[in-house]
Symmetry: C2
C-alpha cells in the first residue's frame, strides 16, 4: 500500500513543487510506482510534468467537488511509473466551497484511499497557505515532508506550520508524522544560509535530511520544457541531489 507523503510549507517559493515533481520522478526512475497529486490551484506540478489541462478535462477539482473518481482523472507522464492527478486554476474556489461542506477536511483522504493499492508513494503538492486545501492534504497523509529555504522569512513561519501539524495529529489524523525537513536552494557561500541552517538543525535535530538541494539553474529551467530534472539534465547537480534525496526517502520509509 502506498505511503502518502504531503509536501507542505505555507511560505511561498521555497521549493515545494520542485521537490514534489523531482522527488516523485526520481523515485519512479529508481523503480517505485509514484502518483503525484497536485492540489495547488496554480497547477505548477501539473505543468512541471508536462501536462496542460484542456477545457472539460477532469482534474482534482472535479474529484473533490464533482463526484469524479480519481482513477478516471489520472494521467501518465514522460517518466515510467510516474502518474499525476492534475490540478487546475478552478481549484482556487475550493477554499470557500469547502467551508460549508460536510466532512470538509476529509475529502482528499477519501479520494486517495482507493488508489493506495496501485502505488508505492503518493506525493501531494500543496499551495502556499494553511487553509482548507492544505488541511485536507495533512489529514490524508501518513507523513509530511517540509522543504525549507535557508532564508530569514522562511524560518519565521515554521513554528506555525508545526502548530498546524500538531492540531491535525491531536484531532483528525493521529498517525501523521513529520517525515523530514529538506533544505532547498542551498548556497553554501551565503553567510545567511549557514546561520539559518544552524537554527533549523537545532530545532529539528535528526529530522533534517542529510541531502541538501543546492541552488541549480537547471532545476528552474526544466519546468519550461515540462520535464522533471532527470529527463532534462540527468548530469546536473539538481538531478544528483534529488536522486540522493529519493534514496534517503526510501531508506527512511
Amino acid at each position: 500500500l502506498a505511503r502518502i507523503l504531503t509536501i507542505a510549507n505555507q511560505k511561498g517559493g521555497v521549493g515545494k513543487t520542485t521537490t514534489a515533481v523531482n522527488l516523485g520522478a526520481c523515485l519512479a526512475v529508481i523503480g517505485e510506482r509514484v502518483l503525484l497529486v497536485d492540489v495547488d490551484p496554480q497547477a505548477n506540478a501539473t505543468s512541471g510534468v508536462g501536462h496542460k489541462i484542456n477545457p472539460g478535462q477532469p482534474t482534482v477539482y472535479e474529484c473533490l467537488f464533482g463526484g469524479e473518481e480519481a482513477a478516471a482523472c489520472l494521467l501518465a507522464t514522460k517518466v515510467p511509473r510516474l502518474h499525476v492527478l492534475p490540478s487546475h486554476h478552478r481549484l482556487v474556489g475550493a477554499e470557500i466551497e469547502l467551508v460549508e461542506a460536510v466532512d470538509r477536511e476529509r475529502r482528499l483522504s477519501r479520494l486517495l484511499r482507493p488508489l493506495r493499492s496501485s502505488y508505492d508513494y503518493i506525493i501531494v503538492d500543496c499551495p502556499p497557505s494553511l487553509g482548507l486545501i492544505t488541511l485536507n492534504a495533512l489529514v490524508a497523509a501518513h507523513s509530511v515532508l517540509v522543504p525549507i529555504q535557508c532564508e530569514y522569512y522562511a524560518l519565521e513561519g515554521v513554528s506555525h506550520l508545526l502548530e498546524t501539524i500538531n492540531l491535525v495529529q491531536e484531532g483528525m489524523n493521529p498517525d501523521l508524522d513529520i517525515f523530514g525537513v529538506v533544505l532547498t536552494m542551498y548556497d553554501r557561500r551565503v553567510r545567511l544560509t549557514a546561520r539559518v541552517e544552524e537554527e533549523i538543525r537545532a530545532f529539528f535535530e535528526g529530522l533534517v535530511f542529510g541531502t541538501t538541494i543546492p541552488r541549480n539553474v537547471r532545476l528552474s529551467e526544466a519546468p519550461s520544457f515540462g520535464q522533471p530534472i532527470v529527463l532534462y539534465d540527468i548530469l546536473s547537480k539538481g538531478a544528483e541531489s534529488y536522486m540522493a534525496l529519493a534514496r534517503e526517502v526510501i531508506r527512511r520509509a
Copy 2:
C-alpha cells in the same frame, strides 16, 4: 491624499514583501510619508521593519474583525516617515471568517479610507493567494504593483492574476489600475531569465518598470536584522535598485 498601492502576486516567493518593505522605506527616505499595511498572516513585512507583536497588541486582524481603529494600531519604524499597520498569524482565520461577513470585500477599503489624509503612499503587502484577503487589498487599492520573478512557474500564474484584477475592475473597484510590473531577483547571466523577461515585456509592454531588482544577498540578510535595505546596507545593489524603483514610482504617480 495617499495613493493606495497593493503589491500582489499569488505565486509564492517572488519578492512581494521585499518590494513592499524596501519600496516603502526608500519612498520614506526620499521624503514621502508612507504607511505599510501587512495583510499577510505570515507577517513578514511586520518583522521586516523590525516589529514583533506582543500578546494582546492590536493588529490588522483586530481592525478587520474586532472593531479597532487602524489609527490605534499603527507603529513607527526605524525609518522616519515610515509607519506600519502590523499583521499577526491569527489573520490566517480571516479567509474563513470573511466568507460569511457582510461587505466581505470592502473591509480593508473602509479601514484605510480615514488614513489617506496622513500619508502620501499606503503600500499593502499580500499573501501568496487570490483569496478574500488579497481581494480586499485589490478593492481598497488605486493601483496594483506586480512583482514577477523571471522563472517559468512565476510566468504561468500571471494570467490568473490579471483575470482577478479584471473582475475587480468590472465590479467592486472600477478605478483600479495596473501601476506596473517589476522584475525581481533578476540575474542577467541566467538564460531562462532573458527568455522569461522577453515574454513578460511582450505581454505587459510599457507597464514593466525600467528598474529591475537584481538578486542581491544583502536583501535577504536585512530582514534578519529587522531592517529595510536602506538601513542595513545603503551601498548595496539591493538598496540602489529599490531607490531607483522609488524614484520611478514617484515619476509615474
